[in-house]
Symmetry: C2
Subunit: 404 residues, 2 copies
């Protein structure tokens, strides 16, 4: 259904309706970071897989200690990685290392710090010793066959560590869609060119390309002139070669904003045009007859930035079955915004050592002022129902930094 | 100076003392994301570079409006990207598009929404019009020659957008050091092998490799057996080929923990061994005679995880002249921890819609229980001076997720 001038939340719903199911591919474990997990990770054995010695020291049979034995001749010394041995005489001990398999006929490990070892005998310098001490028992963490991590979500080092331990030298992950990012506008020249007085360089597309890359999406950059026929031929081809298109510019009220017409001619069905928001009002969203989304973003730098982080991200998260996740931050100062529009305002955030994150809005010179972006960390999402947003109130925030 | 069993903060200081200056390389703008900026970004022209039309509509000379003129014949229509034109008769107007250069002899733009255009004449449907309206004036955002972004910090889409606009088709960034990540321990088999009853698979190194990758650091994985001579030969070679080494295991009190001796023989000067912390106490840090850091992490999975996120990250941030940055979070429940050690406890965090981030500690079965990592988001840093950490108190938190 075609809609016009809809709300921010309606726009999110429409976009979620056009989520895709991504194919599943297999990727070697060393390259899997940042991918989205498409299979359950299941314990192939108990964890730990054997009664694992948790400290360097000696292993004893606790019954001897209970009977008053304090000095234990060392029967043998065993490192981690050696097959299981057995204690032959329960009045002896086995010297043993962290990570090793617990020998037979022992049930307690005493660490070096509590021992005096002389002439092949270990004396225990403790009054009391708990049986089963310093042993990480088989299956204590998780039993064989248990799902450790369900499919879904982004792979971090934690999952990769666990995946390696269960023998996943390659993992099933989602194949991310490939995007064409298309700039329009005859005032734009390439980044390595020196613009004339009335020209500027293409820049939005480089920022968007990087954002998609951070999300694991590869893309190619294209430019099309403000010529209706040429536009139609180029976009037609791109719709064949890519999984989705991101276009900047050409969707406003301007005389040369041919894009909606061109897309219509190519069978891309408009889902909505214009959102009750600032910036980014002229955003156009459609879907091709093959179901490929076309995000036609306003050409203003801040508008295209905001629409990428809100709407393309929402489509991606929906497709990956991930819930929306915003950071909730506290306003450091009052913000006044009268129009009945969702207001995305660039802000600097600060995580105070009292545990709150406060956001200070940084007002630039409108959606054409992207210099402002480098001085901020993300943007607040302020709802249309209010005009005054008071210091201390809490609102969602979208972060665009990538700190280490 | 050689130290033993030092505090967490002392360890951070020692590591910062061994920070490196990274070389500067040049990288094409399309590949620059995630790199660390090594040059100032300077405005090559005013921003905007010309008086930029901010709305689609008509441009007029305000004096005519002030004199009562409301209907303006359209003298010509100009798109963005066209060279500057001039209004010939101040009682006419020029139809003009967003992003275009403001014509000569005009000073005000009226948007289509406030116009009725019929038979080549635009009638203005407003009682009042402010002079200079809807124009984004030359140099309003920033003047030519101004530093937009000082060197330092990680490049996000915001900086990349701006870099493109000032013609930086390539950028100077820091060349990240290359790491060898070395596993030790004869109980370890490779990820594609099926371990025997007393063996486990190498896994820590895969997690560490991914973490370094997220920070922009490439690494190779190596394994060395618990054999002193072989260790010495292999590490000697790796010290020549890599900028720093990360070693897991072999630094505890165990009989086969040869690593400190081997490193000493190779001229790697110990800076400290053991930190008053849990987990990760046996951490060993040294520097080769060529000044290359060697991070010898305990072999327990959670220990090596924590030491990577705390100490290797600190070395990296120090080398890049970045301040420590933790997230400050609020405890959801009391935590009791008696030993006089800095306590790193895996925790799940939740950003409540009242603007606070609360952390709930998830106690696993000690530093060998890394299954627990997949159920948490990072770890709290609890100082050694206290035993009871009360619900509602605020502590630093290190996040290891990489959400989109």
């Amino acid at each position: 259904m075609e809609r016009s001038f809809i709300s921010y939340t309606e726009a999110l719903d429409v976009i979620a309706d056009h989520q895709k199911s991504f194919a599943v591919i297999t990727v070697p474990i060393v390259d899997v970071g940042g991918h989205f997990l498409a299979e359950d990770l299941i314990a192939d054995r108990d964890f730990p897989p054997y009664n694992r010695v948790a400290m360097d020291g000696i292993a004893i049979n606790h019954s001897s200690f209970a009977r008053g034995v304090r000095s234990f001749p060392i029967e043998k010394t065993v490192g981690a990685g050696a097959p299981q041995v057995a204690l032959e005489d329960v009045n002896n001990c086995i010297e043993i290392m962290t990570g090793g398999i617990l020998p037979k006929n022992v049930d307690t490990v005493i660490r070096y710090e509590d021992l005096t070892i002389e002439n092949g005998t270990a004396a225990i310098n403790l009054e009391e010793v708990t049986r089963r001490k310093n042993i990480h028992f088989k299956g204590m963490d998780i039993a064989q066959g248990t799902i450790i991590k369900k499919a879904g979500g982004r792979l971090s080092s934690a999952e990769i560590n666990v995946a390696a331990s269960i023998g996943k030298h390659e993992l099933k992950v989602y194949k991310m869609p490939k995007a064409a990012i298309i700039s329009t506008g005859d005032e734009l020249v390439d980044v390595h060119e020196t613009p004339l007085a009335h020209q500027i360089r293409r820049s939005n597309v480089y920022g968007i390309k990087n954002t998609l890359q951070e999300w694991g999406i590869n893309s190619d950059l294209k430019h099309i002139p403000d010529d209706k026929n040429e536009m139609e031929v180029i976009i037609d081809n791109l719709l064949k070669d890519y999984d989705f298109l991101v276009i900047t510019g050409g969707v406003s009220k301007g005389k040369y904003d041919y894009l909606p017409d061109v897309l219509k001619n190519l069978g891309v069905v408009k889902q909505f045009h214009k959102i009750k928001q600032k910036p980014g009002k002229p955003f156009w969203f459609g879907v091709s007859n093959e179901g490929k989304p076309v995000f036609a973003l306003p050409g203003n730098p801040v508008s295209s930035f905001v629409c990428t982080y809100i709407y393309i991200r929402h489509w991606l998260r929906s497709s990956l079955k991930m819930d929306t996740n915003f950071t909730y931050v506290t306003l450091a100062e009052d913000i006044l915004f009268k129009p009945e529009l969702t207001f995305f305002i660039e802000s600097k955030i600060k995580n105070l050592d009292n545990g709150t994150i406060v956001a200070t809005a940084v007002f630039g010179n409108g959606s054409g002022d992207f210099i402002n972006l480098v001085n901020t960390d993300g943007f607040l999402i302020l709802p249309p129902e209010k005009e005054v947003f008071k210091k201390g109130e809490v609102y969602p925030f979208v972060y665009y930094r990538n700190e280490i």
